[in-house]
Amino acid sequence: MSEAVSALKGESHTGFATVAEAGLTGMVTIRADLGSKTLADALGPMGLSVPGLRGVVAADGRSLAWMSPDELMLFCGYDEAPKIAADLTAAFGGEHSLVVNVSDMRSLFVVSGAKGDEVLMKLCPVDMATLPQMEMRRTRAAQTGVAFWRSGPGEIRLICFRSVAGYMMGLLEVSSRRGGEIF
């Protein structure tokens, strides 16, 4: 088995905020009827429940995010993602759904620091001042689609496609350079 590596191998830069690629992260996309009892029952043992509109819930180091009215994204350990995806697929049985391990298809970035918001303010058409904790916001950063949420105090987690990880890091690095603060 070849050694799995993330797109940028944990590259990080520190300007007025720190931007870093998070390294290997498990991501499982779940497309199904979000009101489904089967889904709720399958998530129960992980301590997770289906999040409300744009919500993100976390338990035991895993997070589950609302992506669209029929889509969730589960963040977990890289190694456990294939098993979680297989278990969920099995749990759904014949019910109309799609569960895929997309860990190698996406990249996760972490923007941290008190002025972390300002890094994204320059890239995304989002009113950062009104974005609450643990709310998933899907938008664009310059020319590429991203999704991010406030995962903790002074910390924003952001995902994008792996194919644009280099571009994304370029954006974040330039946007977080010292002297580029907005306020």
Partner: protein, 107 residues
């Protein structure tokens, strides 16, 4: 810049997050129709200076198509609603009538 609320994810989406999808509420004309009807379905589009019903996709967001009523001159967005509807919601029509008395209806 316009801000249009997405009825699916509730985000106040800025225009660059969205993709325009042209006129809404088009009814496809079937194979039994005559040439004039088919031409009208295929090519003849409304181009009003006023209230316009149109399709939008929250492409850099939840990815869903939705419908919006928008004024093409003032750029006021009267409302948005899910795409699984064959006609605008009655309350939205009433709201537009109240704001634009000269408006002749959506058909």
């Amino acid at each position: 810049m316009q801000i249009i609320p997405c009825p699916y994810c509730g985000v106040e989406a800025e225009e660059t997050e969205l993709t325009y999808g042209h006129e809404a509420h088009l009814k496809r004309v079937g194979p039994d129709s005559d040439a004039a009807d088919f031409e009208a379905y295929m090519f003849t589009r409304k181009n009003p200076k006023g209230v316009h019903f149109e399709r939008w996709r929250h492409s850099n967001g939840c990815g869903k198509w939705f419908l919006a009523a928008r004024h093409t001159v003032t750029l006021e967005v009267f409302g948005t609603y899910p795409a699984q509807t064959t006609e605008p919601p009655a309350e939205l029509v009433e709201k537009i009538k109240a704001k634009c008395p000269e408006w002749k209806g959506w058909k």
